[in-house]
């Protein structure tokens, strides 16, 4: 079996074994989080996007441990990801599959970046973004610019957090969003730095 084929199989294998939760509850709960953010940040869209990224980051740094542990328990071998292609495949075929049960594809692979394509997005199954308010004279009004909202920006944070735990510093951006009328959800991941493993003097402080 080809390498990418075996990664896909590993992801499906893990997905079959993990306990499941209802996707509507998942989507509604994420929705309630968004509602809180919109209220607490007074409809400041860029800040809401930031907060979502921050929340995702905190999830990402944790779920990577679970991914390794679950693989270990189920005898699934995660390749050591010496090439970016492998890393991308693991994120897409194991990460997204194991946690969300969705398929995710890798594309636009370069030495320093790749894109992830999500055709199903469990976060947004009930979502329709509001239209921007338009003034009587047709000019745009003072309401928030909803076209700037990255509803599913939490994914970017998750990927950033997870990859940082394996020494890859990346930047992620939600570049295509079906909620905004794009054909497919696209997350662009760009590697900024490969962190050298080193305890340095950090371990002096307890």
């Amino acid at each position: 079996m080809s390498k990418s084929g075996s990664i896909t199989a590993a992801g499906q294998n893990l997905w079959a074994k993990v306990p499941k939760a209802n996707s509507e509850l998942f989507a509604l709960t994420y929705g309630s989080l968004i509602t809180e953010l919109i209220r607490d940040y007074d409809q400041n869209i860029p800040e809401i996007n930031n907060q979502l990224d921050r929340i995702g980051y905190s999830i990402g740094v944790r779920c990577i441990d679970e991914l390794f542990a679950k693989s270990e328990v189920n005898g699934v071998q995660i390749p050591s990801c010496r090439e970016l292609r492998e890393t991308a495949e693991v994120v897409a075929k194991i990460g997204f599959r194991m946690f969300l049960g969705v398929s995710c594809d890798v594309g636009k692979l370069t030495e320093k970046s790749f894109s992830l394509y999500l055709s199903e997005n469990p976060l947004s199954i009930f979502v329709e973004l509001p239209q921007n308010e338009v003034g009587v004279d047709g000019s745009s009004s003072h309401g928030p610019d909803w076209t700037q909202l990255k509803y599913s920006n939490v994914y970017c944070g998750v990927i950033r957090g997870a990859l940082e735990q394996v020494n890859l510093k990346v930047e992620c951006e939600f570049v295509g969003d079906m909620l905004q009328g794009d054909d497919v959800n696209e997350i662009k991941v760009e590697v900024k730095e490969v962190i050298a493993d080193g305890a340095g003097e950090d371990y002096q402080e307890e």
């Binding site: 990577i64 270990e72 735990q165 305890a199």
Partner: protein
């Protein structure tokens, strides 16, 4: 066969969890705390733990650079005349170190093939990480890497009941 103690370090060497089990190790630590010397602002026991981390870290680096083909380059155990430190490093950089007496086998490949119970320290560490650490600590809503009071979770309880069920515990 005895389990002396367990340390869990994060990637940067911060101690996330430490517990001493055997009476003899407790006694030795007490002695160290009373008579040992340490830099001001630190106690000898903490100092010693840092040295353990430093040793594992440097050895791992050395082993890595000595291995020709980058396979199986992980450090498994360090043994002295009286005791063994078994170690397991996760892909996320978490390091677990388990001190035992020398008669506890590290893994299938270590020389004590005749060992009957077939419970190897590396498998124990792997299990502590996969089933106890991840379930109790990583899953806890309060967890963020390097910033958690492990005592606030059920980790210690689960760990103790697991370790004490092992044939070579005490």
């Amino acid at each position: 066969m005895t389990v002396h103690s367990l340390h869990i370090f994060d990637r940067k060497g911060k101690t996330l969890f430490t517990k001493t089990y055997s009476p003899i190790a407790v006694k030795q630590q007490r002695y160290l705390a009373e008579s040992g010397t340490a830099e001001p602002g630190s106690d000898p026991v903490t100092e010693q733990r840092k040295l353990v981390f430093g040793m594992l870290f440097s050895l791992r680096e050395l082993v890595g650079s000595l291995t020709p083909d980058h396979s199986g380059e992980s450090l498994q155990a360090v043994r002295t005349g009286s005791s063994t430190v078994h170690t397991f490093e996760t892909m996320g950089g978490l390091r677990l170190a388990l001190y035992t007496s020398n008669d506890v086998p590290t893994s299938q490949t270590s020389e004590r093939r005749e060992y009957m119970d077939n419970i190897f320290a590396r498998d124990v560490l792997r299990n502590i990480y996969s089933n106890i650490w991840v379930e109790c600590v990583v899953r806890s809503p309060m967890y963020s890497p390097g910033e958690i009071d492990v005592k606030s979770t059920t980790f210690e309880r689960e760990l103790d009941s697991y370790l004490s069920s092992l044939p070579w515990f005490r």
